[in-house]
């Protein structure tokens, strides 16, 4: 029994974090740098030119891409498409009636892995403008359960990163921002908001890591564990977002301050690949409730 990342997993994660801290979240060069580091081919067997590693390595990396609000389909590419032998392209996926990143990706795949023609995709206006979405013009094959599990797990990891980023940003802000002659972070109401945010994130993260382990080891509980992870990560990140906005006050409500990027991505991802109600229901069925 050991519930912790290995030294190698931590080192890879930290390298990705450091890269993303330096580069722009929406720059194609950032994507290329990640691909060069092997992030897209973590799950590709060494025999096929990949790193031959598993989801326990990839999930903490995806968490960091959430922390940076990376504006590319890394979950779709590295977590879902790469194991299908598509790691060399940037891949967008159809999720229900919508396909995020479709205009940015090299290829758009339907749920059964078949390619979707661009003329079936109509642009729609997403609340998160850094994550463009298109609508599917006609019914397409439903995704395999495995696709949903993998996409939901990667998305859950990003949500944890998003939540952590919003918490860090807010902690920094409330230490600096003065009102009534003191930092607002010295008010008990602000402290308690942020302590609750810390708590929700700290208990959702292990659920995501456990789900990664269950998927990596092909556990029979993998779908249940992924759903628990996605439900908890969606709820935790949404909660942290509310707290972050409230503790920032008006400045958080502007587009001239970065909080809105993380906040909108959180709203989008908490509803992508099954929202928390959908996953909670799936957990319920798995445990006989």
């Amino acid at each position: 029994m050991r519930f912790a990342l290995t030294t190698d997993q931590l080192a890879f994660r930290d390298a990705v974090r450091d890269l993303l801290a330096k580069e722009r979240y929406d720059d194609r060069a950032t994507w290329d740098a990640l691909v060069d580091m092997g992030v897209a081919s973590v799950l590709v067997p060494e025999s096929e030119g990949g790193l031959g590693l598993d989801e326990m390595t990839l999930v903490p990396i995806l968490e960091q891409t959430g922390y940076a609000a990376l504006a590319f389909p890394i979950v779709e590419t590295a977590m879902v498409a790469a194991p299908l032998g598509l790691a060399d392209r940037m891949v967008a996926l159809v999720d229900g009636q919508l396909a995020a990143w479709a205009d940015r990706a090299d290829v758009v795949l339907a749920g059964d892995g078949s390619e979707v023609r661009q003329d079936l995709l109509a642009p729609v206006e997403a609340v998160d403008r850094s994550r463009p979405v298109r609508r599917i013009g006609r019914p397409l094959p439903a995704p395999h359960g495995d696709t949903i599990d993998r996409a939901a797990l990667g998305t859950a990891a990003q949500l944890i990163g998003l939540g952590q980023a919003m918490l860090d940003l807010t902690v920094g802000y409330v230490k600096e921002r003065q009102q009534f002659g003191v930092p607002i972070g010295s008010f008990q109401a602000v402290k308690h908001h942020l302590a609750n945010a810390l708590k929700e994130l700290s208990f959702a993260r292990p659920a995501v890591y456990r789900a990664a382990y269950s998927v990596a080891t092909a556990s029979t509980d993998a779908s249940r564990d992924v759903s628990m992870a996605k439900a908890m990560a969606s709820d935790a990140a949404s909660f942290v977002g509310r707290v972050a906005l409230q503790c920032h006050g008006a400045i958080g409500y502007t587009v001239e301050y970065d909080l809105h990027l993380w906040l909108k991505r959180t709203w989008a991802l908490s509803r992508a690949w099954g929202d928390s109600s959908w996953h909670r229901d799936r957990v319920g069925r798995a445990i006989g409730v």
Binding site: E125, V190, G252, Y253, V255, R271
Partner: protein, 378 residues
């Protein structure tokens, strides 16, 4: 207890309803963009021309001298008919009550009718970069000169400031003063020389905010509202109304709840919404109803000579939390579609400002605890 309306009130409602149903525009863009704002101003002018802009004001300023009850009825019908949020609201609901209470007859003449007619469009200049929740931290200053005041400093988070023509706000007129003292309430035309307005984007992407810079901008003495150095108590009258009765009439939430119920019904019909949302749909309906009942209680007290006191703080917490919950529930009904722009996602983003502006809900809880329950300040 008498929860029936009089024949006169019923007639007022019928008149309002029929005019609103026939005239409320349903294709207005957001009022927080320049183009949208202009369209909204047209709508405000139509309201004014038909004497629906400010029903509770005296007729001489364009109103109908309506009672508070009739005002409530109008608001209910306005939102039931799908009327848009009023872009004139900061003037009508925040400045006007102060002008009625503190303005000279000359100021009332000069300001009120043009405000009602949407000829002059007022924005609020309370917040500064370092004075948000802590309004008493204001540093923008007004210096006495012959015949008036010279303004220097900066205001920010001014809603729709880039589209308005006038600003009302507090300035530090006594340079040696601190906190709540030595502030003066001033009225500033935004085309005054030395005033610069820079619009910037809100969460929802619209340019709904502005910063306003003052560099040796002159305003005449006649633009002081209330007493010099007495601005704090003058301003408190308007923040009182902002928190309390006027800004958020129950009609808004009753209408939003009705739309949510419709959305939920259509979603369950096509097999979309999950059962766990039902509880929240019912809950928000009850909370909107309770807000209406609480308001009826307040209006009764006001009608019988009472005042709105510190309990307006819990009122503000109630409607702002309700507004968020109404929209969040709607987004949960919409599921993945909630990722896209639309009335509910736009409304959700707007609702999130509720617990922040007009005094954060944290400040409101302090006020309720200290002034209603009498808990000790630290």
């Amino acid at each position: 207890m008498d929860l029936t309306w009089s024949p006169d009130e019923d007639a007022f409602r019928a008149e309002a309803r029929s005019w609103l149903v026939a005239n409320v525009p349903h294709d207005l863009p957001s009022g927080d963009t320049r183009e949208g704002f202009a369209r909204h101003v047209e709508w405000e002018r139509l309201l004014y021309q038909n004497r629906w802009a400010v029903v509770s004001w005296p007729e001489q300023y364009g109103g109908r001298g309506a009672s508070l009850w009739e005002w409530l009825i109008f608001e209910e019908e306005y939102y039931r008919a799908g009327g848009p949020q009023r872009v004139t609201q900061n003037g009508i609901f925040l400045l006007a009550p102060t002008v009625f209470e503190f303005g000279t007859p000359e100021q009332q003449e000069r300001i009120l009718r043009r405000m009602a007619a949407a000829d002059e469009l007022w924005c609020q200049g309370w917040s500064e970069p370092n004075a948000g929740s802590d309004l008493a931290g204001i540093t923008s200053r007004s210096t006495k000169v012959d015949g008036g005041w010279v303004l220097n400093g900066q205001k920010t988070w001014t809603t729709r400031g880039a589209f308005c023509t006038h600003l009302f706000g507090l300035f530090r007129s006594d340079p040696d003063s601190e906190r709540h003292k030595g502030l003066t309430y001033l009225l500033v035309p935004l085309d005054t020389q030395g005033v610069t307005v820079r619009g910037f984007g809100r969460l929802d992407g619209d340019e709904g905010f502005a910063e306003v810079f003052f560099e040796d901008a002159f305003v005449p003495d006649g633009n002081v509202l209330g007493g010099v150095n007495d601005g704090w108590s003058v301003a408190m009258a308007t923040t009182g109304s902002e928190r309390g009765l006027t800004l958020r009439s129950p009609g808004r939430f009753l209408a939003a709840s009705a739309r949510l119920i419709e959305l939920y019904r259509s979603a369950t019909t096509v097999g979309g919404a999950v059962e766990s949302v039902r509880r929240r749909v019912i809950d928000t309906w009850m909370r909107a109803e309770a807000y209406q009942l609480f308001t009826l209680e307040t209006v009764t007290r006001l009608s019988e000579g009472g005042a709105v006191g510190a309990e307006s703080s819990i009122n503000k917490i109630w409607w702002s939390e309700l507004d968020v919950e109404l929209h969040e529930t709607a987004l949960d009904v919409l599921g993945p579609e909630a990722q896209l722009e639309g009335a509910w996602s736009k409304g959700y983003q707007f609702s999130l400002s509720g617990p922040i502006y007009a005094g954060t809900n944290e400040i409101q809880r302090n006020i309720a605890a200290e002034r209603v329950l009498g808990l000790p300040r630290r």
